[in-house]
C-alpha cells in the first residue's frame, strides 16, 4: 500500500480512538442506587455537568445539516444561515482589504521612497489586535454590522500588504530588464511582468489573511451579536447547549479549511518553476 492509503487508515484509526475515549469518558456512571432526595428535587440532574458525548454531537449535526437554512426567529437560525452571515462579513472586509492592499503593496514594492515612508505605519499598526479597533469602530461607524466588517478589513490587510510589497520588490532584476528592453510602460510592466512574477507571494499573503479573518470573525461576532457563527456559539453557550457549541466549533473548522483550500488551489495555479 502506498503512503497515501496508509495515512488515510492511520487518520481513521486516530479519529475512532479519540472519539472512543471521548464517548467513554463522558458516559454517566451507572448507578444502581435510587436517587437521593436532592437529586429528585433537581429532576435527576447531576451536580457535575458533563461534556456531551460525540454520539450526541453527531446526531445534532445530522439534524442540523439536514435543514441548515431554517429561520425560526432571531434566536433560532440554521447553521447555514449563521455561517453565511459570517462568510459575508469576512468576504466583504477581505475584498475591501484587497482593494487597498494590492495597489498600495505595488506602490510600496516598486518605490523604495514609498516603502521607507509607509513602512513605519505598517510596523505600528500591524501588531494591534484587530478587536482592539472594535470600540473605536463602533463609535465612529455607529453600526455593528459595518464595524465587524471593518475589523475583518483591518486584520486581513496587513499580510496582503506586506506580502505584495515583498513580492513586488523582489522580482528578479533580469525580468525587469526584459521589460525595459522591450520598452514596456510602467503599468504594462506591473501587469505583465511584476504581477505574474509576484503572484505566488501575493496569494500566499492572501492565504494568511483569509485564515486570520476567519479566526477574528468568531470573536468579532461574539462582541457585536445578532447573527453569525460567532454569535451562534456564544448564544448556545448561554443556552447551555454544549452539543450545539461543539457542533458549531467543528463547522467553523470545516469552513476555515475550505477557505484555505481555495487559496491553496489558487497559489498552485499561479506558481511557476524557475
Amino acid at each position: 500500500m502506498d503512503i497515501r492509503g496508509k495515512s488515510i487508515i492511520l487518520s481513521l484509526a486516530i479519529l475512532v480512538t479519540m472519539l472512543g475515549i471521548w464517548e467513554m469518558s463522558v458516559h454517566k456512571p451507572e448507578s444502581s442506587e435510587p436517587l437521593s432526595e436532592y437529586e429528585l428535587l433537581m429532576g435527576g440532574a447531576e451536580q457535575e455537568s458533563r461534556v456531551p458525548p460525540p454520539s450526541d454531537v453527531l446526531k445534532l449535526a445530522a439534524s442540523e445539516l439536514s435543514n441548515p437554512f431554517y429561520d425560526a426567529g432571531p434566536n433560532d437560525k440554521g447553521i447555514g444561515i449563521q455561517l453565511g452571515y459570517s462568510l459575508y462579513r469576512v468576504l466583504a472586509g477581505y475584498l475591501l482589504a484587497m482593494l487597498i492592499a494590492l495597489p498600495l503593496g505595488f506602490v510600496i514594492g516598486m518605490s523604495p521612497l514609498m516603502y521607507r515612508a509607509i513602512n513605519p505605519f505598517i510596523q505600528i499598526l500591524r501588531p494591534i489586535s484587530p478587536l482592539a479597533w472594535m470600540p473605536l469602530a463602533l463609535f465612529v461607524i455607529k453600526d455593528s454590522e459595518a464595524s465587524a466588517i471593518f475589523v475583518i478589513f483591518i486584520c486581513s490587510i496587513w499580510p496582503m500588504l506586506v506580502n505584495t510589497a515583498f513580492g513586488v520588490s523582489n522580482v528578479r532584476k533580469d525580468w525587469l530588464r526584459v521589460a525595459s528592453t522591450h520598452e514596456l510602460s510602467r503599468l504594462r510592466t506591473a501587469l505583465t511582468v511584476i504581477l505574474p512574477a509576484a503572484a505566488p507571494t501575493i496569494l500566499t499573503g492572501m492565504r494568511i489573511s483569509i485564515g486570520i479573518a476567519w479566526l477574528v470573525i468568531v470573536a468579532a461576532e461574539m462582541l457585536v451579536g445578532g447573527t453569525g457563527v460567532g454569535y451562534y456559539v456564544w448564544n448556545e453557550w448561554n443556552n447551555l447547549d454544549l452539543t450545539s457549541v461543539i457542533f458549531s466549533i467543528l463547522m467553523i473548522g470545516l469552513v476555515g479549511m475550505l477557505l484555505d483550500m481555495i487559496l491553496a488551489a489558487a497559489i498552485k495555479r499561479v506558481k511557476y518553476q524557475e
Binding site: D174, W175, R177, V178, S180, T181, H182, E183, L184, T192, V193, P196, A197, A199, V270, Y272, Q273, E274
Partner: protein, 292 residues
C-alpha cells in the same frame, strides 16, 4: 567612424571608492560598428565588456562618453536594440510561444494575432524549437532555453543585437550546435550583432571583427582584429583555412600575455583601437606561449 552605424565615443566607467580615488574600469573606449557587421568583444573578467554592452543597450549609463546609433544618441533601452543575456532571462510563467510573443507584441503592438503568431513561428522554427511551443522554460534544457531567448531577440528584428556571452553557460556540444544556428540566422537576417565572448574559437567562427580589451582596472579597447575568413564558415572546416591559426594565435597571445602588459595605460581622448589583420599580415607576430 564618423558615419558608422554605431559609434562609441570616449566611453568610460568609474566607480567611487570610499576614502580613495575613483576606480576607473575603462576609459576612452572608441570604436564603431557598421551595419550588418558581426563584432565580438573579448577580454578578461573585470575589463568592462558587460558595461560597454549595457551602455550600448541603454541599460547602464557610462560615467563619460556616449553611444550613437543610427545618428541618435542612446539614452535608454529601446526595441531597436535586442539583447540576449547569458542567463536567458525568459519569463518562467510563460510558454515558449508566449515568451517569443512577448517581444513581438511589444515591437508591433498594432499587428493582428495572425501576424504575431506567424512571426513567432518563423523564428521558433529558425532555432529548431518547433514542437516545444507550449512548454515552459523549466521544462527545457539550458541550450533550448537559450534558443528561445535568441528567437525572442531576433523575432523583434532590432537594428542592433547585443549578445552577452550567450553560450557561456552551455556545454561544449550544445554550444557548437547553437553557434551554427546563430550563424545561419545571421546569414539570413544580416542583423548587426555585437557579442561578448570568452571563447576565442567562437569569436573567429562568428565575427567579422574581434575587439580586444586589456585587463582592468584602466582597461582599454586596445585592438580591433579583422577576421578575414571567407563565409559561410563551418565549424568543421574553418580550422583548415590558412588564416585560422594565425588569427587564433594572435588572439590567444593577446589574452595570455599582452592584455596584462597593456593594462593600466589609458588611451588618449578619441584614440581608436589599432586595426590588425593577422590573417594576411606577414610581419612577425609577438611571441606566443600558448597554442592549444
Amino acid at each position: 567612424m564618423k558615419n558608422s552605424f554605431v559609434q562609441v565615443q570616449n566611453l568610460a566607467k568609474r566607480f567611487p571608492i570610499a576614502n580613495e580615488e575613483e576606480l576607473t574600469v575603462f576609459e576612452n573606449a572608441n570604436f564603431a560598428i557598421e551595419k550588418g557587421e558581426f563584432v565580438c568583444i573579448t577580454g578578461h573578467s573585470g575589463c568592462g565588456k558587460s558595461t560597454i554592452l549595457n551602455a550600448l543597450a541603454g541599460l547602464d549609463e557610462p560615467t563619460q562618453g556616449c553611444v550613437i546609433m543610427d545618428g541618435k544618441e542612446v539614452v535608454g533601452p529601446s526595441l531597436e536594440r535586442g539583447i540576449v543575456f547569458q542567463n536567458y532571462s525568459l519569463l518562467p510563467w510563460l510558454t515558449v510561444m508566449d515568451n517569443v510573443k512577448f517581444g513581438v507584441r511589444a515591437r508591433w503592438p498594432n499587428w493582428s494575432k495572425e501576424q504575431i503568431e506567424s512571426q513567432c513561428h518563423k523564428f521558433i522554427d529558425m532555432v529548431g524549437l518547433n514542437g516545444t511551443e507550449l512548454r515552459k522554460p523549466s521544462e527545457l534544457s539550458g541550450g533550448m532555453r537559450q534558443r528561445v531567448s535568441i528567437a525572442r531577440a531576433f523575432a523583434t528584428q532590432p537594428k542592433l543585437l547585443l549578445l552577452d556571452e550567450p553560450f557561456g553557460a552551455l556545454d561544449a556540444l550544445t554550444r557548437g550546435n547553437i553557434q551554427d544556428e546563430l550563424i545561419n540566422i545571421w546569414n539570413e537576417t544580416k542583423q548587426t550583432i555585437f557579442m561578448i565572448t570568452h571563447d576565442v574559437d567562437e569569436a573567429i567562427l562568428m565575427a567579422d571583427r574581434v575587439l580586444l580589451m586589456s585587463n582592468g582596472p584602466r582597461a582599454r579597447v586596445a585592438e580591433s582584429v579583422v577576421v578575414d575568413i571567407a563565409r559561410p564558415r563551418k565549424r568543421a572546416e574553418i580550422i583548415d583555412a590558412p588564416e585560422y591559426y594565425k588569427i587564433r594565435n594572435y588572439l590567444v597571445n593577446f589574452l595570455v600575455n599582452r592584455s596584462k602588459e597593456l593594462s593600466g595605460s589609458s588611451p588618449s581622448l578619441n584614440e581608436e583601437p589599432l586595426t590588425v589583420n593577422p590573417g594576411v599580415e606577414t610581419r612577425p607576430m609577438p611571441e606566443t606561449k600558448a597554442i592549444a
